[in-house]
Amino acid sequence: MTYSPEVRERLERDAKEIIGRYPKTRSALLPLLHLVQSEDGYVSDDGQELCAELLGITKAEVTGVATFYTMYRRKPAGDYHVGVCINALCAVMGGDEIWEELSEHTGVGHDEVTSDGKVSLERIECNAACDFAPVMMVNWEFFDNQTPASAKQLVDDLRDGKDVRPTRGPKRLCSFKEASRVLAGLPDDLAGDGPSAAGPSLEGLKVAKANGWKAPEA
């Protein structure tokens, strides 16, 4: 597979915009690899070659970087890339049970894709939402306070094409490719969706307000 002239032209245009933000071009490599994933769903051979060409480095250098970072996939992700946090705290709070049941329910393991190509599963490390444990991510959006039942329902809904909303995020769940475009530094217009903060994020503020506690006056 090689990119058609139209696709290549579009990717080059996006890439040049990204490269232009950095004092040195090679800094654009991580964003460009996200851009490749926004086109192909993984860091394809062609995509890596394009990165090398645009940045004036070798393909081996690009591959060396692409293989270091866990978010770059060596094979296509599902439309919905589902992560279950299995780091210590989430595991103890139920992440282990969620993973086991979800993996059995879907018939796929870590880094595998369901036969319909819709869902891939990953055992993820701490995603900085420990106060919402156990945590799951879909295309890197938060799905907080999960249970084995809610996790299975979530994946079933994704595979059935039903409307699924992140707990703290936009009204509409992006595909893996759309999400990758945001990561490349080309944001969509969904930043205004969703709450400022929710649930546990607000517990301290609630306690402070209930007690009339404030930071001292200047």
Binding site: R21, P23, K24, R26, S27, L30, P31, H34, G64, V65, Y69, T70, M71, Y72, I86, N87, A88, L89, V92, M93, G94, D96, E125, C126, N127, A128, A129, C130, D131, A133, P134, E141, F142, N145, T147, P166, P170, V182, L183, P187, D188, L190, A191, G194, P195, S196, A197, P200, L202, E203, G204, L205, V207, A208, N211, W213, K214, A215, P216, A218
Partner: protein, 429 residues
């Protein structure tokens, strides 16, 4: 109760538009700072006593002061927004709900160190947070708070939001810089420190999100205001993140020096019908504490004196249903997964720790295995290239110190004495 909460960074999180410029307000602190001498801004932050909120606690103003001036080289500010330390979950909600505090802090910090280019290196796995950062930066540009000639001061700043791609090691500041330069994120030998040779071998300040976001309040309210909170050597406020077996887990912004007992009182205590067994004061890389330590003031000195570290104030609470061996195994698997492979003690040590702990957790170990894991940990600690390796030894040493009997119990009965279902969120239903 002697200590009360002091919401500053979290004060507006319950407002629906807190993440927009409308909700945040004008950049008054930046305007004030840009009318000051840059050295006076550095001095104000020095006087405030602000210490790095990313875990290490290095004095922020002093770090800024290390940047050589008049050297003719470009200077850079890089915000470390790669929050990935297990248990740490403060910067992510902060950037989601209040990204403008960070952007305003970036302007003030960059001005102080004479940088005209700044980067926010944010971990990639938090899509909506990244959207909010991009939107905040765009709003700031549109208002003229970023770009050329900010507030007519003649000072200009470009700010780029840069997403990482999944690597805990990039939270280490020199690995982050390599990553930002487009390489594998592996730590660099220090010295030279980033202040001398950082991004593109130029003088660079790398600061944590919460540190930078605290700066506008210091400029607006004065160094004395900030220094009036906290303890003698640990000034100001910080976000304390409670997670795990707590009635109301969440983010509690308080003066440094508050105790876990006080925080637990505010959070409704350990979940009903249970008692605290062990906890981390500041993430998995800080040695665990037990119920003996509920009254330790959570500041850099007091936590250090008791053999742990304040770290990122990531208070992960585990009750008596939790198996400490299983928990330590999972942290160890994390370090083995995230070890960058550059140095042998960390790469090999974490791998072997994982193997032995797996055996111990299954009840197939021996007492000799306990000596083996502490011996391996001794050979990582202080001998690895960066702090990731040191951090990996914290759960090992501290759990063997406090819970040796529980390790022994595993191989006495040939298995884990705990039912993992009981420790889950739904285990009591």
């Amino acid at each position: 109760m002697s200590t009360t909460l002091t919401p500053v960074l979290t004060a507006k999180w319950d407002q629906p538009n807190s993440f927009t410029l409308d909700g945040y307000g004008e950049y008054e602190a930046a305007k004030k700072a840009l009318g000051m001498d840059p050295d006076a801004v550095i001095q104000a932050v020095k006087d405030s006593g602000l210490r790095g909120r990313g875990g290490a606690g290095f004095p922020t103003g002093m770090k800024w002061g290390f940047i050589p001036q008049g050297d003719g080289k470009p200077h850079y500010l890089v915000v470390n927004a790669d929050e990935s330390e297990p248990g740490t979950c403060k910067d992510i909600p902060l950037m989601m709900a209040n990204p403008h505090a960070l952007v305003e802090g970036v302007i003030i910090t960059a001005f102080a160190i004479r940088a005209n280019h700044a980067f926010i290196y944010v971990r990639g796995e938090v899509l909506h947070v990244i959207r909010r950062l991009h939107a905040a930066v765009r709003e700031a540009y549109e208002k003229g708070y970023l770009g050329a000639d900010i507030f007519g001061s003649g000072y200009g700043l470009e700010l780029v939001v840069h997403s990482g791609a999944g690597a805990y090691i990039c939270g280490e500041e020199t690995a982050l810089l390599d990553s930002l330069e487009g390489f594998r994120g592996q730590p660099r030998l220090k010295p030279p420190f980033p202040a001398v040779a950082g991004l593109y071998a130029s003088p660079t300040v790398v600061n944590n999100v919460e540190s930078v976001a605290s700066v506008p309040s210091i400029i607006a309210n004065g160094a004395d205001w900030f220094a009036g909170m906290g303890t003698e050597k640990s000034k100001g406020f910080g976000i304390f993140s409670l997670s795990g077996h707590v009635t109301r887990p969440g983010q509690y912004e308080a003066p440094l020096g508050i105790t876990l007992r006080e925080l637990l009182d505010m959070a409704g205590g350990v979940r009903a019908g249970h008692q605290i067994k062990f906890w981390t004061p500041g993430g998995s890389s800080t040695p665990i504490f037990t119920d003996e330590h509920l009254d330790v003031p959570l500041d850099f000195e007091a936590v250090g004196a008791k053999g742990s570290m304040l770290g990122t104030r990531a208070l992960q609470i585990f009750d008596e249903t939790t198996c400490v061996v299983r928990t330590v195994l999972r942290w160890t698997e994390f370090y083995a997964h995230e070890s960058c492979g550059k140095c042998t003690p960390c790469r090999e040590g974490t791998y072997w720790l994982k193997q032995v702990l797996k055996r111990l957790e299954k009840g197939q170990g021996t007492e000799e295995d306990l000596s083996t894991i502490t011996d391996i940990a001794d050979n990582i600690l202080g001998r690895s290239f960066c702090a990731l390796g040191d951090g990996a030894t914290s759960p090992i040493h501290s759990s063997v110190k406090y819970f040796r009997d529980e390790y022994l119990k595993h191989f006495e009965i040939g298995g884990c004495p705990f039912d993992p279902k009981k420790s889950t969120l739904w285990g009591e239903q």
